[in-house]
Amino acid sequence: MDQWPSRFQLPMLAGELLLVNGAEVFRVEQTMERMAYAMGAERADTLVVLSGIQASFTVNNQVFTYVRRVHSRRIGLRIIVEINSISRHFCSDDITFEEAEVSLKALATAPTHRSLWRKALASGFGTLSFSILFQLQDPLSLFYATINGFLASFLTDLFASWHIPDFLSTFCTSFCLTVVTFLYPFLSDGDIDRVLLAALIFLLPGVPLTTSIRELTNGDLLSGTARLTEAVITLITIAAGVYTVFTLFSWRLPV
């Protein structure tokens, strides 16, 4: 009986990892409750909001309550997929408690992001594909668009390593991208818009937007609204970065 308090750290760890890596709130609650019931809890109640987890588990009329605070979130869909499979195997008794604990702790310390270069390369190719979809045909413009894609990923990582707040780093990235686009030599005026836009797609808050829609549909109004606000503020920040440079460089703008 003495080990229950430490054993219930397992669903707490799983929930914290899910929340940190950007899972939806109902997924976090469901995973934690399932794991707790599989461990033998008689009752499990979880309350998850974006900034933290509160949970209480009942065993033999004893109540264990835990609170975890989550300060920052990021995008790590791979970790969500892996925790999903760990919890599924754990609930169907395919793996033991110790195995689940070891693999969860390994996930907690694993590096979340791939190498800077590969990310930048992927961002560059993604931007190239997008600029082709936006009907950009000039090879020079396509090359500039790819460079912009590289830069977008690099700058985001750079500002993140300086521990600049998220919204400010988005502003700085979109500011720098717009300045660089204006400085490209021999770029025809008609292509400026699309060269810039393809790289800005990288900054768009697609993940919070989709997650907030799914949460709102599920009835998690609190966290759904919070994420929606995050997405809207990010959009406004991107627009502000572009706007600032446009007003400074208004002589360079094509009419």
Binding site: L77, V81, N84, R114, S123, F134, L209, T217
Partner: protein
């Protein structure tokens, strides 16, 4: 059209890599994303309805395939939805605002939010329908197993 399909495929694949999605769901996402892009291009005249349909198809395929691939639905939807985001229209609205053309800019913002809400609508309608469809499929498979046992 083939170029559209191909390059939206690579675009979604690259973004799936950036979001750190495993290979299996990211290829599924790339297929659904390029399908959605082609559908949105066909319905370009009525972009709100086209986007709704495209988002619906992305989410429907994601809900059908995610339980079979043993991955969360989000890992397919999030990269797939990237191609539908109305970046061009939003950018044009911003440009209009800078040039001082406030009325076209506000019209643009309204159409951008309409498209965004149609993405949201497509996702939620697909979720409501597909959860029931998945349950029906499960029930059907279980009844077939029972018949075999008999």
């Amino acid at each position: 059209m083939i170029y559209d399909f191909l390059f939206s495929f690579t675009a979604v694949l690259c973004y799936a890599y950036l979001f750190d999605v495993p290979l299996g769901p990211s290829i599924t996402a790339a297929f659904t994303g390029s399908l959605a892009w082609v559908i949105a291009q066909i319905w370009l005249a009525n972009s709100v309805f086209g986007t709704f349909l495209a988002a619906f198809i992305i989410a429907a395929i994601a809900y059908l395939l995610a339980p079979r691939l043993h991955v969360p639905v989000t890992s397919i939807i999030i990269p797939g939805i990237i191609v539908l985001v109305p970046g061009m229209a939003a950018y044009k609205a911003l440009r209009d605002m800078i040039d001082g053309n406030y009325i076209p800019s506000i019209m643009g913002i309204i159409s951008v939010s309409a498209i965004t809400f149609s993405i949201a609508g497509g996702l939620s309608v697909a979720e409501l329908i597909m959860l029931r469809v998945n349950r029906m499929i499960q029930r059907w498979q279980q009844s077939r197993k029972k018949k075999k046992l008999k």
